[in-house]
């Protein structure tokens, strides 16, 4: 095993992430306005912005899904029980004792088990909940009859609840960037694409001969 600086986030994945940041923040702010939490944006404009950002995000997700399945990256998001307890124990206890994070990033596994489980729930349940309810909400008049008040009430509330859960995810997601190596160190890979990874000799040899641009040369000393 050797620690190498490897490009773990290719350009598309970084674009995907940061576009999501912009669009989800837009949706959060406009959505809260539409829900009546604040009145910072005129209602009509908020509806337009919310609709356009949602459609853009859906388009992005279509591309991302295609990318995940064609590159095999989808495997990164399959959760494993193994090691999850150790990570949970670290956040609940070890981190206060100044212990090292129990998870070491490996090439095919850039998420720790708890992270992978969180993304799994997010991608398979919360995100579908919000975009399915969102599309039903948006297209209300194409399917609704005069007796659809209960249906739209349920849809809207499910949409709202999903949004709040995503809000909670964002808070914890950003906070956890401060744990361990520190905020800047954690954000950097998503900007530059490179992170320090344990590579097996086989992986190192493979990358060096086949994808040398993904490896940074070993620093002197």
């Amino acid at each position: 095993m050797a620690k190498r600086i490897v490009k773990v986030y290719p350009a598309f994945e970084r674009l995907w992430h940061w576009m999501q940041v912009i669009l989800i923040l837009t949706l959060m702010v406009t959505g809260m306005g539409l829900n009546g939490v604040h009145g910072l944006i005129p209602f009509g404009q908020a509806v337009m912005l919310h609709t356009l950002a949602a459609l853009a995000l859906l388009a992005l997700w279509v591309f991302a899904t295609f990318w995940l399945f064609t590159t095999g990256t989808w495997k990164q998001f399959i959760p494993k029980i193994e090691g999850m307890v150790a990570v949970a124990r670290f956040y609940a206890y070890g981190v206060f004792k100044g212990e090292e994070h129990p998870y070491e990033k490996i090439f095919w596994r850039k998420h720790n088990p708890l992270q992978a489980a969180t993304y799994f729930v997010l991608k398979w349940f919360i995100f579908p909940a919000i975009w399915i309810t969102g599309l039903l909400y948006l297209t209300y008049n194409f399917w609704a009859g005069s007796d659809s008040v209960l249906a739209i009430t349920l849809i809207a509330n499910l949409h709202l609840l999903s949004a709040y859960v995503i809000g909670a995810f964002i808070i914890i997601h950003v906070y956890l960037l401060t744990v361990g190596h520190g905020f800047r160190e954690h954000v950097k890979p998503m900007v530059t694409g490179y992170d320090e990874i344990d590579l097996t000799p086989e992986q190192e040899a493979y990358l060096e001969s086949n994808e040398p641009e993904r490896l940074k040369p070993v620093a002197e000393g």
């Binding site: 539409l34 829900n35 009546g36 939490v37 009145g39 005129p42 209602f43 009509g44 509806v47 337009m48 609709t51 356009l52 956040y91 981190v95 206060f96 004792k97 100044g98 090292e100 209300y140 008049n141 609704a144 009859g145 005069s146 007796d147 008040v149 739209i152 009430t153 809207a156 509330n157 709202l160 609840l161 949004a163 709040y164 859960v165 809000g167 909670a168 808070i171 914890i172 906070y175 401060t178 744990v179 361990g180 190596h181 520190g182 160190e185």
Partner: protein, 540 residues
């Protein structure tokens, strides 16, 4: 190039001007009534003019005698109620019955002075001129049962000092109805300018663009339309009823050239009137729940003439120190007009200008609390009940003027009563004798209705659909007016509206989730901070 454009422009201008001249020079109508010898007479009365009209318009009186303008009676096809001015009781002067010649001064006929009978059936008893005079000097006497003033004595139906009308001039001027033909009666319903409707006032004789986009002049961007452009007629029957309203019109514009007898917005604008972009589509999505008027008439009684919003009859009859009837003028309109807030004859009034409507589901049916309906005097009584329900598919949320009243009722029989208020020569009329017992007794006798002799006063509401004074698009009701807590539609049942309930239990649950996340994060970081003993967690 520039020269070529200039010449082309000039040519176009000349051609257009030429067309305009040609249009003006040729009469729109194929008949110039001023050239008819039978109209060039010194008529002595209204019926004489009608007689002359009928010489050529042989079917006009038969058509007209079946119209509600003449019968003042309406058989509601759905509720089976007999409505019309002849029968209903309202929250204003109460009833026509018992107050004829005064009320029937606006009858489109001559000499109807008893509501127990049908209007005079004689063919010359129809008033052609009130609708067709274009000389603008024909009018009706305020107390003349429909007859015009033939001398400068008394008052006209619009409250002006009467003048002797020139019937010859009026007869020679006839044409299609203009605004004043309709407005001289309809703008003054309830006995004064805009008293009744709230959206029909003398402002509409010549409104500015911001008051009415349809009737304002073309120079301001308006359409210069008259009432009958929307209220189209067929055989002297007009589209548009306040008893049986077309609350939604899915038929839209219909096929090209299709004749439509509907005074609905959709009959011109279609049922998807907003542009096909994301915003327009969202606005079009609202047309299954909202009437066009709900957004496009943001306030009623605009343009400077207030409407009466409250009328309390129970306080009428007070006298001043000298024992004489008196009045108070404590309301000033935006145009600076002082208006009665108390009259010994009529009680207390309140007014509203630029008023936000009351909103309710409306399927078009209006049921009246006629004399045969029992009322519950412990609650506010709806003088007319607005029907409608989201679930029926044809109801829309409509704007209304909600008139507040306090008016007389029969305590024993528990029904509203007819009152004899006008009658300067009787010893029972309230406005001259100030005695409710006599006035109600006489009113009930005039209407031929049973009366217990015991009366009280009950709070009432009366609803007037708001449909005129359509504002420019940029003045339409903004989204947030309704999409907020306690917005305009807060009291309308059966609607889900985003933005009206941020603190629903799901909203509160969501906020709790966010709060707990923050608290968790803060707690976690504090623990990290204070437990950083030997090594610390920053080891990067």
């Amino acid at each position: 190039m520039l020269l070529k454009q200039a010449i082309a422009g000039l040519c176009l201008a000349i051609v257009t001007a030429g067309n305009a001249v040609a249009e003006d020079a040729v009469s729109k109508s194929t008949a110039d009534h001023s050239k008819f010898p039978s109209l060039q007479k010194d008529f002595k009365s209204g019926p004489e003019v009608t007689e002359a009209c009928l010489e050529c318009h042989t079917e006009a009186d038969d058509q007209f005698m079946h119209s509600i303008h003449f019968t003042w009676e309406y058989d509601h096809p759905d509720t089976g109620q007999k409505l019309g001015k002849k029968n209903v009781i309202n929250a204003f002067c109460g009833s026509v019955a018992g107050n004829e010649p005064r009320c029937t001064s606006c009858h489109a006929g001559y000499g109807w002075d008893d509501m127990n009978e049908a209007p005079p059936q004689k063919e010359t008893a129809k008033d052609c001129l009130v609708c067709h005079d274009t000389s603008d000097q024909y009018t009706k006497l305020a107390t003349g049962a429909g007859h015009p003033p033939m001398e400068a004595k008394g008052k006209t139906i619009t409250g002006q000092k009467a003048w002797a009308v020139d019937l010859k001039k009026a007869a020679m001027s006839v044409g299609m109805p203009d605004r004043d033909n309709c407005g001289n009666c309809h703008f003054y319903g309830g006995g004064g300018d805009n008293v009744k409707h709230g959206d029909l006032s003398s402002v509409l004789y010549n409104p500015s663009f911001d008051v009415d986009v349809h009737m304002s002049p073309k120079s301001e961007g308006g359409e210069d339309m008259v009432c009958s452009d929307c209220h189209v007629s067929d055989r002297h029957q007009w589209a548009g009823s306040r008893y049986n309203v077309l609350a939604s019109d899915p038929h839209g514009t219909g096929k090209p050239g299709e004749e439509r007898h509907a005074a609905s917005c959709q009959s011109c604008h279609g049922d998807a009137p907003h542009p096909t972009n994301i915003k327009g589509m969202k606005l079009n999505d609202h047309t299954d729940t909202l009437a066009c008027q709900t957004c496009h008439i943001p306030e009623f009684a605009r343009g400077g003439v207030p409407t009466k919003s409250m009328w309390d009859w129970s306080t009428a009859g007070k006298m001043d120190e000298t024992g004489k009837p008196y009045s108070e003028d404590k309301y000033t309109s935006s145009m600076g007009k002082h208006m009665h807030t108390y009259m010994s004859t009529k009680g207390n009034f309140e007014y509203a200008e630029n008023a936000v409507p009351h909103y309710a589901w409306f399927d078009g049916q209006v049921e009246y609390t006629t004399i045969d309906r029992k009322i519950d005097p412990t609650n506010t009584v709806d003088v007319n009940v607005i029907h409608g329900d989201r679930a029926d598919g044809s109801s829309r949320i409509w704007p209304f003027k909600r008139m507040e009243g306090r008016q007389a009722y029969d305590k024993v029989n528990e029904n509203l009563v007819y009152t004899h208020v006008w009658g300067p020569t009787t010893d029972t009329a309230f406005w001259t004798n100030f005695d409710w017992a006599k006035a109600i007794d006489a009113g009930m006798k005039a209407a031929n209705q049973p009366y217990s002799g015991e009366f009280g006063f009950v709070d009432t509401y009366m609803y007037w659909p708001i449909t005129h004074m359509v504002a420019p698009a940029e003045d339409a009701v903004g989204c947030v007016e309704c999409h907020q807590e306690n917005g305009r539609l807060a009291d309308v049942a059966g609607v889900f509206m985003p933005g009206t309930d941020p603190n629903s239990w799901i909203g509160l649950l969501g906020k709790a989730i966010i709060l707990m996340s923050f608290l968790g994060v803060i707690g976690h970081s504090l623990l990290r901070l204070f437990s950083r003993n030997s090594k610390g967690d920053h080891h990067g």
